[in-house]
């Protein structure tokens, strides 16, 4: 299996703080992988390392076999690696369709403005935001802003889409909608990495889970293996609980 994304002993330090420590993993084409971990485990930092926002201080990141460890973010984005933000980051004064068109134009290889806007409307319809296309982005509700992030990610025409906490702040009906959308995106052939701190949400779509704790990868495997792993239970529920459960 050739991996779409591969991390080899990746570390990221901020001064004395090690936010990501010696992480090695592979993601194959077509997978839906969940990246779990309690708050502060280093999940978002890992995404920032992969996208080049905070380049790795040690190790290597490979995308489609190419070393992208020191490649600037905009080039990584153009090569087919897209992400959404935990804290949504629209261009506030632009309309929704302009936001998505920007993604299509600069990363999605749309030829010219007209084509970018056409593609943008298509992605908005796909994500169910078609009606809000001409609204100014800053006026959207949180749930719709999260959808806008999806649409932007898709418009970048990615091979791998990393979804950073797309469910934070949503109610359960909205979460279900989001999950349905994720499955739909996966069916269209995009490899997906879902970053979450709530395990339940990920279990409904992922066939493989990664767990990050204190910057280290402590588990990697099928959902049922991972949820029974002693270290994972410790990380989530504390040591005492793990001992009581006798595993």
């Amino acid at each position: 299996m050739t991996a779409l994304l591969e991390l080899r002993n990746v570390s990221r330090r901020f001064g004395g703080l090690v936010a990501v420590n010696d992480v090695t993993l592979k993601i194959a084409e077509g997978e839906i992988v969940g990246l779990l971990g309690p708050n502060g485990a280093g999940k978002t930092t890992l995404v920032n390392v992969v996208t080049g926002v905070h380049p790795a201080t040690g190790g290597q990141v490979l995308f489609e076999g190419r070393d992208i460890t020191r490649v600037p973010p905009f080039r990584i984005a153009r090569s087919g690696l897209a992400r959404t933000f935990q804290i949504v980051q629209p261009f506030p004064k632009m309309t929704v369709v302009e936001n998505v068109a920007a993604a299509a134009l600069f990363a999605g290889r749309a030829e010219g403005m007209a084509e970018a806007f056409e593609a943008a409307r298509r992605h908005l319809d796909f994500t169910g935001l078609g009606d809000a296309a001409d609204q100014v982005a800053s006026t959207l509700t949180l749930a719709k802003r999260k959808r806008l992030e999806f649409a932007k990610g898709l418009a970048m025409n990615p091979k791998l889409l990393m979804l950073d906490e797309v469910n934070a702040g949503l109610n359960s009906a909205e979460v279900e909608d989001a999950m349905r959308l994720i499955r739909k995106i996966a069916d269209s052939g995009v490899t997906i990495l879902i970053i979450e701190h709530i395990m339940k949400v990920v279990l409904s779509v992922s066939r493989r889970l990664l767990v990050l704790h204190h910057g280290e990868l402590i588990a990697d495997g099928l959902p049922e293996e991972v949820t029974n792993d002693r270290r994972v239970i410790e990380a989530y529920l504390g040591k005492r609980y793990a001992e009581k459960a006798g595993r």
Binding site: F74, M94, A103, L105, F106, A107, M113, M156
Partner: protein, 309 residues
Amino acid sequence: MKPWLWLVVFVAACALVPVFGNNYALRLATIMCLYAGLALSWNFIGGMAGYPSFAAAAFFGLGAYVSAVLQSKGLPIGVTWAAAGLGATVFAALIGMAILHLKGHYFAIASLAVVEVLREVVNTAEDLTGGGMGMNIPLPGMPVDVQARLFFFAMLTMTVLLLAVTIVVSRSKLGFGLRCISQNEDAADILGIDTTFYKVAAFCLSAFGVAVIGAIYASWVQYIEPPDVFDILYSVKPLVMVLLGGLGTIFGPVIGAVIYLALEELVWRNFLTVHAAVLGGLIVALVLFLPNGIGAVIRDRTKRAAVRS
């Protein structure tokens, strides 16, 4: 197509000045074109990209001196203007790559320091520039009124060119990318925008416009000295004009320049000793009461009127 129509209207209105106006009107019209050109140039980096640049005075002085030095070596005037523009563009590309990674106030200060350093460099290079003595660049063998017309049309041409570039850029990928950068640079980066290249491009456009205008100015006034052409007010005035007319818009800078010039003339005539104070008061009022420019007020009015009818 509408912006192009307004452009034609603007040119027609300006072209009438030398036909009907007297020398005073021609002088005012020349200054108006100078101001509009400066404001349009600043708008690329300050309005579209949202970077608070104070480097305009550096480009203005650089353009003026490049042109003056080349003229004193006997080159034709048009060639020296073009050389001024190209020289400033290269200079801006180099400086831009160094300082455009700074944000907010840090960028503002760095761009301000560029003005100070360049002024002192010109002051020191006495062999070439005459230092603090300034440079005389007479234009012999041409009647005064012909000269006045020549420089007016040169300024007008430059302004129209900058206005055309503004229209083209604001509809192009470049303009779109700059708008993204001005609203959220990190997000722009992650969406695949080569932010460094875009910012440097905007900075270079800005430098080119300002430098050519500085060069024409030098030929027009025929005598320049460092404190005159590296005056920090050349950095500040365009900023105020663009704020007046509306940041990042197409015609805002031109409207702002016209209003600013009208105010300046009024103030100069009536309050000579306190003209800076009145200008300061105007700036304060502008920031507090019209932060989006007069253009925005007009747009809101027309929108409201349209809703009512």
